[in-house]
């Protein structure tokens, strides 16, 4: 069987998802054997343009990004959003909820006009995305399983149920029930991460996006009981799910 040609591309992000791929351990060698990586700037100088599957990391945040991602879409048969930035806009979208002139000025001062920047967007705001591998950064196991699925022509399994399922499977004490409770976004966030954050005692911040039918009113009630104000709750959403909130 001919090996499928694969490209990795990044837009605005920390490149943590590509690094996660490079950190696959022995499985990285399996990946090299199973696919022909023709474009992976972070790991290779070779830049092939004949890829079938494009893994795209990062969010769209300049007008040039829009042109570039459309080119990638035109070349690739399958586009996969890799990680929260590509999937949801990621932390990049926090600034969408601030005054843009302030944002630029605070970072670049009087030279702010020098830089091209638009509101941060998930890639599906610009192109059609075939599959999403969520999380910030992607989960190694899920990436391997999803990639095998895609090679097999099957839709990768990405749960639609909330993180509490994974959390309970890990036999964690719920963060809301600890002696020093921490508010958690698990009940409305898509699982699949194995509840990594609650499992080490920190809150789910919603990096995998909201589930398709989140019970937001019940969740907001729980948070209010926990002492959060509406403003706090909004900030909590905006960490990753600001744009999803807007769409809903």
């Amino acid at each position: 069987m001919k090996k499928p040609k694969v490209g990795f591309f990044e837009f605005t992000c920390c490149e943590g998802c590509q690094l996660t791929v490079l950190s696959l351990g022995d499985k990285l060698l399996d990946l090299f054997e199973s696919v022909d990586i023709v474009n992976f700037r972070e790991a290779s100088s070779y830049k092939g343009q004949d890829y079938e599957i494009a893994f795209i990391e990062g969010s769209i945040s300049t007008s040039k990004d829009i042109e570039r991602i459309k080119e990638i879409r035109a070349r690739a048969k399958i586009c996969v959003a890799l990680g929260a930035c590509a999937h949801l806009g990621g932390v990049n979208a926090i600034r969408n909820f601030q005054r843009q002139s302030d944002v630029r000025w605070r970072t670049y001062g009087d030279k702010a006009w020098l830089f091209d920047s638009i509101l941060a967007q998930p890639i599906d705001a610009v192109i059609k995305v075939d599959h999403v591998i969520p999380e910030c950064p992607i989960d190694k196991k899920e990436f391997l399983r999803a990639t095998a699925s895609i090679l097999l022509g099957k839709k990768p399994f990405i749960p639609d149920y909330p993180v509490c399922v994974d959390c309970k499977m890990k036999a964690n004490v719920c963060l809301f029930h600890k002696p020093n409770p921490i508010a958690c976004m698990g009940p409305v966030t898509r699982a699949g991460c194995g509840a990594v954050c609650p499992s080490v005692g920190n809150a789910c911040e919603g990096c995998r996006g909201l589930i398709p039918d989140p019970n937001l009113s019940a969740w907001e009630e729980v948070l209010k009981e926990h002492g959060l104000s509406i403003e706090d709750i909004l900030k909590f959403y905006h960490m990753y799910n600001g744009l999803m909130g807007v769409r809903r």
Partner: protein, 443 residues
């Protein structure tokens, strides 16, 4: 061959983290322009922090960069603790030091094996290397995995650490886990290091020297990563809160990364600076490795950064073993009940009104500074993050200005390669310095 026009324009330099271009313009044999452009999209992290509660800063800023997210988290935590006036427990600080060492080890392994090594053997990437030199690639994978296992155990994962928070950790580690990690390090240190040295000692390091100012943290008693004073080889030492006396950021139009210029500009941060300034404090095996690689302190050849990283990697492994031993001899405690760590949306946040704090650490690529000011409500009022690559940009351009006239007689491909190798040697982490690489020849 002199008197020709050369314009090097490398777009999107490969095998570096982030996007950057190299522009070199030579008219009639005379160097007109050398530029390292960063074309990465602007990130605006400093603005994103404004109005946020302080525990959130740790997780937001660790997203500045995937490879040094532990360093960002640590710098962020330290800045907040500085503002709160908190001194974390001994155990917390030791675990943080282990995390720093693991991150530096991971990042250096990635750079030396995956990004730089292909240059030395003339391969486009690590992918063909996997079949031509499988042992080397497998060693890299083992080292990286070790670093990841350490971080996964202590903070949940490496890229974007989860449980390291202000004043402690939200999880607990066990002595069994620490013993297991220690034995893994020991195995790698004993089995892999000799083979690796063989590979790297054969690599031809281009001859080039330029004396510069080496800047890094320094601390009595240990090779500083986590804490210490800022030391310049030319201008002396500075306290962390006085960092601005050494580093003032300046926005230049050709890059979205802010370039840093100190009063004595330019200067170098990172592995070679630390090696030059703090050589004496390296662990014994690391010193032996330096000798075997022919690296002496001080070295003024930036292409030697790769070797300095190998030395540091070995140091990190030894250093972590030492720290694990100390932890195990004192016994590991669950400190969360006595000193609840400050994480996420807890209801009880210690007040931080109207104060400010600075956190400085040695990220894999060098000095990293976070500074936050807090408003009346305890929210972040303003933030400043100074990233290592941003500090190195001016130094890289200075190196290129010295290097290019000396190699103008060589074929264009070679010039390009030497320039790319130079930039790559600095291991620039561009996604985080946007807050840069591509060489175009224009003829």
């Amino acid at each position: 061959m002199s008197g020709k026009d050369i314009r090097v324009d490398v777009h999107h330099i490969a095998r570096v983290e982030g996007h950057g271009n190299i522009v070199v313009d030579v008219k009639r044999g005379e160097l007109k322009e050398v530029k390292l452009e960063i074309v990465e999209s602007p990130r605006f992290f400093e603005a994103m922090l404004v109005g946020r509660r302080y525990p959130e800063a740790v997780h937001i800023t660790s997203r500045i960069c995937g490879i040094c997210s532990v360093s960002h988290a640590n710098a962020s935590i330290k800045a907040i603790e500085d503002a709160l006036g908190i001194k974390p427990t001994w155990q917390t600080e030791v675990l943080r030091k282990i995390l720093m060492a693991a991150e530096i080890m991971d990042s250096h392994a990635l750079h030396c094996f995956f990004l730089a090594a292909p240059d030395f053997v003339g391969a486009p990437s690590v992918i063909p290397l996997a079949s031509t030199s499988p042992e080397v690639v497998k060693t890299a994978i083992r080292w990286k995995k070790l670093a990841h296992d350490i971080c996964d155990t202590i903070v949940g994962r490496h890229t974007q650490p989860i449980s390291m928070v202000v004043d402690g950790f939200t999880n607990r580690v066990t002595e069994d886990q620490m013993r297991e990690l220690r034995s893994k390090i020991k195995e790698v240190l004993e089995n892999d290091v000799p083979k690796t040295l063989e590979f790297f000692s054969k690599l031809k390091i281009p001859a080039f020297e330029r004396k510069t100012d080496n800047v890094c943290l320094t601390q009595p008693g240990e090779y500083a990563f986590y804490d210490g004073a800022i030391k310049s080889s030319k201008t002396g030492e500075y306290k962390h809160r006085d960092y601005k006396l050494k580093i003032a950021e300046q926005v230049v139009s050709h890059s979205t990364a802010k370039q840093a210029f100190g009063p004595v500009k330019p200067y170098m941060v990172g592995a070679l600076s630390r090696f030059n300034n703090n050589f004496d404090q390296l662990m014994p095996k690391a010193k032996e490795v330096a000798e075997k690689l022919g690296l002496e302190a001080p070295s003024h050849n930036p292409y030697q950064i790769t070797n300095a990283q190998i030395v540091e990697t070995v140091h990190c492994m030894e250093f972590m073993m030492k720290l694990f031993d100390e932890l195990l001899s004192r016994g590991i405690k669950d400190e969360r009940e006595e000193r609840p760590p400050i994480a996420g949306w807890t209801t009880k946040l210690p007040p931080i009104n109207k104060s400010w704090g600075v956190g400085v650490v040695e990220a894999p690529r060098g000095l990293l500074v976070h500074e936050y000011k807090f408003n009346n409500d305890g929210m972040i009022e303003s933030a400043n993050c100074i990233i290592p690559t941003a500090q190195n940009l001016a130094n890289i351009e200075a190196d290129m200005r010295k290097l290019v006239p000396g190699i103008l007689d060589r074929p264009k491909e070679e010039i390009t390669l030497l320039l790319e190798m130079l930039v790559r040697a600095y291991d620039p982490c561009i996604s985080c310095s946007t807050h840069m690489l591509k060489v175009d020849f224009i003829e």
